[in-house]
């Protein structure tokens, strides 16, 4: 019987291109300044940012959490840095 195994494809993240390798600028988040507003999360084209728990409440009273970038998928566009209201994100040249 005909194998049309490949006329369609299914999502398999292992097959994705490593778009994280594109960047020459990488976002660095200053945990002390982040207020966990989620702006960067809303506007990141790659959905590479999520909130992680604030594990240093003594450094930052923000209880919402701190933004954290997944470097595998971040293309280094810099939108997060521009949209952050507290300028907690800076784009640094990748080594």
């Amino acid at each position: 019987m005909t194998q049309y195994k490949d006329s369609t494809i299914k999502n398999d993240i292992k097959k994705a291109q490593k778009v994280g390798d594109w960047k020459y600028l990488s976002p660095e988040i200053d945990a002390k300044k982040c207020i966990g507003c989620g702006n960067c999360i809303s506007f990141c084209p790659e959905a590479a940012i999520k909130i992680r728990q604030n594990i240093h409440p003594e450094k930052n009273k923000n209880s919402k959490g701190i933004a954290s970038v997944d470097m595998d998928w971040c293309k280094g566009c810099g939108v997060c840095a521009v949209e952050c209201p507290t300028h907690a994100i800076t784009m640094k040249k990748v080594n």
Binding site: A16, Q17, S42, P45, K50, D70, V82
Partner: protein, 312 residues
């Protein structure tokens, strides 16, 4: 990656760094809990999300050609009707059905695939009244092929096929009023939105997806690559578009116009144009009249919109 946001569209697509199209897609798909099937016209979104062997789509998806995303979804909608009929028959016969609930049908097409080559099939699908949401992500040109002009390109823009030069100031005509074209089909809900205003977009997506029959969203998507601005600024550009009234946010619900965002002191359209390389030539002395023309047209359109909405 953000698990919540990537339930329907995964990362790893090859959109340009700083492209807002995925944000539009995720916002709209996130506006419903029902299963969704996507039909996509050839273009930026389609090419970047489905390069063999990878697909970023975690929901059922079909791309067939450039001009027929709406015709394709018409077939899917008919298939759904047929399956629901069969399930009903099976249910009554055996007490169980293989096919579950009703899926939402969403079409994504760029301005090229909607204003121009896709206009006929969109018009046909709207006229037939299929239940689907058509989302046009409008970046003002055929961007996937390198920035050629489309029927959605604004006046004065420099594009590859209608370039600015010694004898030309770029696009010589205004873009089509796609909202009015779609509205004239008598559909219950359509809205103009902007990727830079995701909450407003989400509200509109929800309303559109709950509409019985066809619905339409025209969403501005500033293109960092071909509008020529830094990769980090699509949100800024989007905001400027609305703050200058170049791209008002409004809805047309059952024929009634509702403006969602009123600028008390709208910025001059120059503020929007000067940020983009594609309008750089308009700031030469000989082309300044075009900026005046654009401002006039923006003012005129806003005035018309205000009149239609019955507000002051």
């Amino acid at each position: 990656m953000n698990q919540e946001l990537t339930k329907k569209l995964a990362p790893g697509h090859t959109t340009c760094a700083g492209c807002g199209i995925p944000v539009i897609v995720r916002t709209i798909l996130g506006a419903t809990k029902d299963p969704v099937i996507v039909s996509n016209a050839t273009g930026c979104l389609e090419v970047t999300t489905t390069i063999y062997p990878y697909t970023a789509w975690k929901i059922p998806y079909i791309h067939s050609a450039f001009e027929n995303a709406a015709a394709t979804i018409s077939g899917v909608e008919a298939a759904q009707k047929a399956l629901l009929k069969k399930a009903k028959l099976k249910k009554s016969a055996k007490g169980g059905s293989a096919f579950g609930g009703k899926a939402k049908l969403v079409v994504f097409g760029g301005d090229g695939g909607t204003y121009d080559i896709g206009l006929q099939s969109l018009s046909g699908a709207l006229e037939r009244g299929h239940e689907f949401l058509y989302v046009c992500y409008d970046n003002g040109g055929y961007m996937n092929t390198g920035g050629q002009r489309s029927g959605g390109t604004p006046l004065g823009a420099n594009t590859e096929t209608e370039p600015a030069g010694l004898d030309s100031f770029g696009k010589s005509r205004n873009r089509k009023d796609l909202m009015e074209i779609v509205k004239s089909h008598g559909i219950k809900y359509l809205a103009q939105a902007n990727v830079a205003y995701p909450n407003d977009l989400a509200m509109k997506a929800k309303k559109a997806l709950e509409t019985k029959g066809p619905s339409f969203l025209l969403v501005l998507q500033p293109c960092t690559n071909l509008w020529k601005f830094p990769t980090s600024r699509y949100v800024r550009l989007g905001r400027l578009a609305t703050e200058t009234n170049f791209w008002p946010l409004y809805e047309i619900e059952k024929g009634n116009y509702v403006i969602n965002y009123v600028n008390k002191n709208p910025k001059k359209v120059e503020e929007f144009l000067k940020e983009q390389g594609r309008f750089k030539h308009l700031f030469e002395e000989k082309n300044k009249k075009v900026i005046k023309e654009i401002q006039k047209s923006v003012n005129g359109n806003w005035k018309k919109l205000v009149e239609m909405s019955g507000s002051k």
